[in-house]
């Protein structure tokens, strides 16, 4: 049985598989009509802005190829910025400029590029190189996110982001994704990022995996992962929970980053969030989703967050005995 799980054991742990996610959650709670709201990052951003949810400040939108010619003057005065395709997924096409050196731009990887390189990248985005099916796309240029100094040692390039599964408006599970050298600054677990399960009650790290195996320290920085404590946790959960009202989807993954100066900011929403968050948390989603399914409608975002923190927090779970992990098994042991 090395490396394989028995189905009965997975069921015991409450792990949701791809089929169950598709049939019982995505197709039941997510109205197809609403998908475009989250598939287009620009629309998500506008909607979030209307509802006063904090997002990275929008600096520039480029829709046409000819606008690229005047990009130099438009970017004047911006030291650092992030370039994103509106329809990109999985971090594709994202370019982060951290500063300037004379005429040249310095990227987060430390490499430099000139204006021509930047223009070509913008042109590729608009031509649809990074969008699904190659349809023409839009460029979004946003303010650079300033990494919170408390996280600096946990990430190799890139800024850690926090994925929260929000079901019917209730935050049910959370993980932080840390880029590594192997993942090339990307935050996808299957590309080699570290997934750190976060306690819904407190925002503390409870478990961490890298390439499907449990880890305790960051392979590049040697930082002890159990030391992670997300600041502004309740604000962050509230931000995620309010996304439910904003887009109307029942089962979403909210991606949030923490800015040094502005606090938690909503990056993007996902209508088909992956299942590896369960591996990162070492805990199945199903019991939590079933608990939320039993609740009535109508609670406010604040009430929902309070309920989730109580019901799914490590303290709450230990108290009621709900969920699988018992109290003494929790926490990443200190090195």
């Amino acid at each position: 049985m090395m490396g394989w799980m028995r189905p009965s054991r997975l069921r015991e742990l409450g792990v949701v598989g791809m089929n169950r996610r598709n049939i019982e959650f995505i197709s039941r709670y997510n109205d197809r009509r609403l998908y475009p709201l989250v598939d287009d990052k620009l629309r998500t951003k506008m909607l979030a802005h209307e509802h006063q949810l904090a997002t990275p400040t929008l600096r520039l939108v480029i829709r046409q190829q000819h606008e690229i010619r005047r990009i130099a003057e438009k970017l004047e005065g911006l030291q650092g910025f992030a370039v994103k395709p509106a329809h990109g997924s999985g971090g594709r096409g994202i370019l982060v400029v951290t500063g300037r050196r004379g005429e040249r731009f310095v990227r987060s990887s430390g490499r430099e590029m000139d204006l021509d390189d930047l223009s070509r990248h913008l042109s590729n985005i608009i031509a649809g190189l990074f969008s699904l099916g190659g349809t023409p796309d839009t460029v979004i240029i946003e303010d650079l996110i300033q990494i919170d100094p408390r996280f600096a040692e946990y990430s190799y390039q890139g800024i850690p982001d926090i994925r929260i599964i929000v079901f019917r408006g209730y935050p049910v599970m959370a993980m932080m994704r840390l880029a590594t050298q192997v993942s090339d600054g990307k935050a996808n677990l299957h590309q080699g990022a570290i997934g750190v399960g976060l306690d819904i009650g407190s925002g503390r790290a409870i478990h961490a995996v890298h390439f499907g195996r449990r880890v305790h320290v960051h392979p590049d920085t040697d930082a002890v992962l159990s030391g992670i404590q997300t600041p502004d946790w309740q604000t962050l959960l509230t931000l995620a929970a309010r996304c439910h009202e904003v887009v109307g989807l029942g089962y979403i993954g909210a991606d949030i980053v923490i800015d040094r100066d502005r606090g938690p900011l909503l990056l993007e929403l996902n209508a088909r969030p992956g299942l590896s968050i369960q591996v990162a948390n070492g805990c199945g989603l199903l019991p939590r989703l079933r608990q939320v399914e039993a609740l009535a409608n109508g609670a406010s975002a604040g009430e929902r967050v309070a309920w989730s923190m109580q019901a799914f927090g490590e303290a709450g779970l230990a108290e009621t005995g709900a969920g699988s992990p018992p109290a003494q098994g929790t926490g990443v042991p200190a090195a």
């Binding site: 490396g3 598989g17 031509a127 099916g133 190659g134 499907g212 098994g329």
Partner: protein
């Protein structure tokens, strides 16, 4: 829809399929297993012509071909009178109508069963002596020298015929052979040379039998008379004897069709192999009453051949659903594996697999160059389509030069599908790296191979073609899988790290 209603629907579909199949079995005697039955070839000659006034058309039809037994014959020809006439000891079907104009289509349909013991009729040649042959210079000298060389290596009429054919089919023909071939058709030339040596010879036409083929034409066969009987040779290879899958359609240099009152005659053949219970052979022409309207067998052979292939698609779809939903394999393009599996039916597995991988690999290499040109998507895929066509041409050519017949069947791969596969794989390569390309490409091929193994199985082919109602059962299974919320097989590995946290 409520769960009970859904389960009822599935149960109903499955039971209906099984019940109809059982009724058909009881009614027509069609067995469920392909074992105890004769392989019947149903051949259909389709004659197209443009009529102009009173029409009299005759078609040469087979008579006691060696190795086969005729079970029944039919014609489909609205308004035409039909009769079979013996003419110089040969059988011809004759259609007549007093007035017709415009394009006409006539069908002649014959059921044959392969029978090794069936000896061909007409053992005595109509021509007892070879006719005299006249050559012009310089062909005379060339023919004399070629025959002298062939005679020197031969001892019997059979070996002489083989030697002549070998001379004329060699990849590196002698000067004499090249000179003769320049002004004669090869088959005619072989006959002429044989006559020159005094051996009675004739060109007959045979039909190569391959299951579910359409638009086939006859191939020439050289026959020589050895004094006792006619012996056949393949003019392309010199192989002696009639191949097992060759049906002698007409003997001697007779016109296949003869048309009065029309023009533009075209004859094409369709064929299909069907298993038929031995007991039913005698009544094969008219099938059981109740199921006559429900039977694909009442369609023209041309359409039946198409359906025989189409009816395999549901099984292949089931395999795809199974592998994706229950096993969790990734495939590129949801139903691409089905089309690949159908293509494998024509190319057979190993050559098909090799050529497919070769085409996609070369296509990927060329596509990586295209991506640097920054083309629009539609133009890019159109370019890849053209490249794929060229690649297929090149592979066919190479295969042919190397002497593999299989190279030629490459054309059965669906070009558009291959072009899309290359495009998808190439994007996947850029975004996720070669590993993911191998996973998805391997997944697609694994599903295709599994589907091929199933649809190539004789039992599956027999059931799907003779009991098409069993597809209701297939639908029921597919729908049931569509409601499966349990784990996929590969998820048992994906979530293996879950065990580590729990005590």
């Amino acid at each position: 829809m409520s769960r009970v209603l859904f389960r009822g629907l599935i149960l109903f579909l499955a039971l209906a399929g099984l019940l109809i199949a059982w009724l058909r079995h009881a009614d027509t005697g069609m067995p469920f297993l392909p074992g105890k039955q004769a392989q019947v070839w149903i051949l259909e000659a389709r004659i197209d012509f443009v009529a102009d006034g009173p029409v009299m058309l005759s078609l040469n039809i087979p008579e006691q071909p060696p190795g086969f037994r005729i079970i029944s014959e039919q014609t489909a020809s609205p308004g035409y009178g039909f009769s079979i006439v013996e003419e110089d000891g040969r059988r011809r079907g004759e259609w007549t109508i007093s007035e017709a104009s415009g394009p006409q289509t006539l069908y002649y349909n014959v059921h044959m069963v392969a029978d090794r013991d069936a000896v061909g009729g007409e053992e005595v040649p109509l021509i007892r002596r070879a006719p005299a042959v006249l050559w012009k210079e310089p062909e005379l000298t060339a023919a004399r020298q070629l025959l002298a060389a062939a005679r020197a290596r031969a001892s019997t009429p059979e070996s002489l015929a083989r030697e002549i054919i070998r001379e004329l089919t060699s990849t590196d023909p002698s000067q004499n052979a090249a000179l003769l071939l320049a002004s004669h058709q090869r088959t005619d030339l072989i006959e002429r040379l044989l006559h020159d040596t005094g051996i009675p010879a004739r060109i007959s036409m045979g039909l190569l039998l391959k299951d579910a083929r359409r638009n086939q034409s006859l191939t020439p066969i050289i026959e020589i008379f050895t004094g006792k009987r006619w012996v056949a040779f393949d003019p392309a290879t010199g192989r002696q004897g009639m191949p097992d899958n060759m049906l002698l359609w007409n003997r001697g240099d007779q016109f296949l069709t003869d048309l009065v009152g029309g023009y533009d005659t075209q004859v094409s053949f369709s064929m299909i192999r069907r298993a038929m219970p031995m007991v039913n052979l005698s009544s094969a022409a008219h099938e059981g009453g109740r199921f006559r309207l429900l039977s694909i067998h009442t369609l023209p052979i041309e359409q039946q051949s198409v359906f025989k292939l189409l009816l395999l698609v549901p099984i292949a779809a089931l395999v795809t659903v199974f592998m994706r939903v229950l096993v969790g394999l990734h495939t590129s393009g949801t139903f691409m594996p089905i089309l690949i599996a159908l293509a494998f039916l024509q190319t057979t597995l190993l050559p098909g697999l090799t050529t497919f991988i070769a085409i996609v690999a070369i296509g990927l290499l060329l596509r990586s160059y295209l991506s640097r040109l920054n083309l629009l998507l539609v133009a890019r895929i159109a370019t890849i389509i053209v490249i794929v066509v060229f690649l297929m041409g090149a592979l066919s050519l190479i295969g042919y030069q190397l002497g593999f017949n299989t190279g030629m069947t490459v054309a059965f791969f669906p070009i558009i599908i291959i072009a899309w596969t290359i495009e998808r794989m190439s994007i996947l390569w850029e975004e996720e790296g070669p590993r993911e390309v191998l996973i998805q490409g391997g997944g697609s091929l694994a599903v295709a191979v599994l589907a091929f193994v199933l649809i190539d199985n004789s039992l599956v082919g027999h059931l799907s073609f003779n009991f098409p109602e069993l597809n209701l059962v297939v639908i029921a299974i597919i729908m049931a899988i569509g409601k499966y919320t349990g784990y996929r097989l590969l998820e048992l590995r994906r979530f293996r790290a879950m065990e580590e946290r729990s005590p």
